[in-house]
């Protein structure tokens, strides 16, 4: 069964540290526990999303700049 990394907070998901910078991770990258995979903006404050599982990214479920709910899947891992 595939593993997912969930958003810990409601807000806006960002896959990049800044609009003009490359994404934290892309499909095919390996992820270790604790790696930052994106940011969630909540009420104008930014929170890093750290991976709570390890694996290889098979898909981004949330796109860059997409509004997300707490508990919503952001990334799928194999």
């Amino acid at each position: 069964m595939s593993k997912q990394i969930l958003s810990p907070l409601p807000g806006t998901f960002y896959s990049k540290p800044a609009p003009d910078q490359p994404a934290f991770k892309k499909v095919g990258d390996t992820v270790a526990v604790g790696d930052v995979i994106g940011l969630i903006e909540v009420m104008k404050s930014f929170h890093e999303v750290a991976a709570d599982q390890a694996g290889t990214i098979t898909a981004f479920i949330a796109d860059d700049e997409e509004p997300v709910m707490a508990g919503q899947a952001l990334i799928e891992l194999a």
Binding site: P10, G11, T12, E41, V42, M43, K44, E65, P67
Partner: protein
């Protein structure tokens, strides 16, 4: 021409405030909103509502084309920008007027002059208004900047000419730090604001933040006295008062007269605020910047003068001359506003959006609550954390603080954390009660009182 139908290009409590003012003047209202704000109080109160895009502000509340289209589709003849978002965007002001609509605010040209920190400083100096010792304009030559820093004395603040809201500011304690920070500041300003221009100011230690409310009709300008907003966290105002407890009457008159002189010099139209630093040790005041819009803390001025600033903005924009002469504006009593935000002061002010499970609003004499809340409303995570502003008026400052404590005790917002416990602790604090604070008072106080900022049992 008087406004018939007003489009509100904002959200939250200020949108509600603008709709109320419009309704009292018989003006129809159009509330534009993002997909995340379809259930907002402002949308429910307005005569019409138009969805202008997805939750992200850059795709909705900052989307000029969609806002102008909403105005055309609904037949609105005026736009009120509120505060934040596009309120100080001169290009938006010009675009609104180019579309044949009334812009509720000063001319784009006045926004440009006062929005550029360097141009505003030059305008202040030529109107005879004291400014903080610093560079006379933009500094482009590093050697010249260095010489000037040594001359004005450390600590020195390096600011982005195009910055604002506390962003783009660095403080150098000595010349070594200055040499290190200057190139960084320029690169950061270029990246953040598209303009690497900098200017410098001496840091005034232990200053108070005092600001003057003005109203202009393009010809005449009056002031509505001052507000003091020295209690700040991360350069964001937390607790605001009118009048300032620190200002002797003669100084008040000088300060307010200087604000009128500067606003007249730019033929100011609408409501505006001139911000100053006031050094109560020396009695010196220095102009720092002008906000060319209505401000969050405007209600304290309304409470001490009896003037409805939002209604006056709409009347002025509709072409009426000022209805008040300076002598008509009287300062009566004392008002305090606290910002109730969806943040947990016991957990480092962590933001907490959520659904309002209970709401009990304080009442009684001299109490006002300007809010975007209603029971069952879900506060979205996409915008700032301001839920409402609790404002009290009373005859004296001491009595106003007692009334604030009483009103905070009545306020109940369930379902998410709020900053209410912070304000309760502040209202009980001896130094707050004595009015002994400055702009750097609150942050160390928060560190020392962290254990007292939880919700009371």
């Amino acid at each position: 021409m008087a406004i018939q139908k007003l489009l509100i290009a904002n959200r939250g409590e200020i949108a509600v405030r603008i709709i109320r003012a419009a309704q009292e003047l018989g003006i129809a209202t159009v509330q534009v909103h993002s997909a995340a704000d379809a259930d907002s109080l402002a949308v429910k109160m307005a005569d019409e509502a138009v969805n202008i895009g997805p939750p992200m502000a850059s795709k909705s509340y900052l989307n000029i084309a969609n806002i102008l289209k909403a105005a055309a589709d609904t037949g609105a003849d005026a736009v009120h920008p509120g505060y934040g978002f596009l309120a100080e965007n001169a290009d938006f002001a010009d675009a609104v007027e180019a579309a044949g609509l009334i812009w509720v605010g000063p001319k784009g040209s006045a926004i440009r002059v006062m929005g550029d920190k360097v141009a505003a400083r030059v305008a202040a100096q030529s109107a005879g208004v004291p400014v903080v010792p610093g560079s006379d304009g933009r500094i482009d030559d590093p050697d010249q900047a260095r010489a000037l820093a040594l001359k004005i004395g450390f600590p020195v603040m390096i600011k982005a000419a195009a910055g604002g809201g506390g962003r783009g500011i660095r403080i150098a304690q000595d010349i070594e730090e200055f040499d290190r920070l200057l190139p960084q500041a320029s690169a950061e300003a270029k990246a953040a604001f598209g303009d690497g221009g900098l200017y410098m100011e001496k840091v005034i230690e232990r200053a108070r933040h005092i600001e003057v409310q003005i109203l202009g009709d393009g010809t005449d300008v009056i002031h509505c006295f001052e507000r003091e907003c020295s209690l700040q966290r991360r350069r964001q105002k937390v607790w605001e008062e009118a009048p300032s407890a620190a200002l002797p009457q003669a100084m008040r008159e000088k300060l307010c007269a200087s604000a009128v002189a500067l606003a007249k010099a730019v033929q100011y139209r609408g409501a505006g605020t001139l911000e100053y630093l006031y050094d109560d040790a020396s009695g010196a005041f220095y102009f720092i910047e002008m906000n060319t819009r209505i401000q969050v803390e405007h209600p304290v001025t309304e409470m001490i003068t009896g003037i409805d600033l939002l209604r006056e903005m709409l009347r002025i924009a509709g072409g009426q001359p000022l209805r008040y002469k300076q002598a008509d504006v009287r300062l009566n009593g004392h008002a305090i506003e606290v910002r109730i935000c969806a943040e947990d002061p016991a957990q480092g002010f962590k933001p907490g959006p959520g659904t309002i499970s209970t709401l009990k609003v304080p009442g009684g004499p001299g109490v006002r609550f300007d809010t975007l809340l209603y029971q069952g409303y879900t506060v979205p995570p996409f915008y700032d954390s301001l839920l409402g502003k609790l404002i009290v008026w009373d005859e004296t400052r001491a009595q106003a603080i007692a009334r604030m404590a009483r009103a905070l005790g009545e306020l109940e917002v369930g379902g998410l954390p709020t900053t209410k416990p912070l304000h309760q602790a502040l209202a009980r604090d001896a130094e707050v009660q004595a009015g002994k604070f400055h702009t750097r008072w609150l942050e160390p106080w928060l560190d020392q009182n962290a254990d007292r900022l939880g919700e009371e049992a």
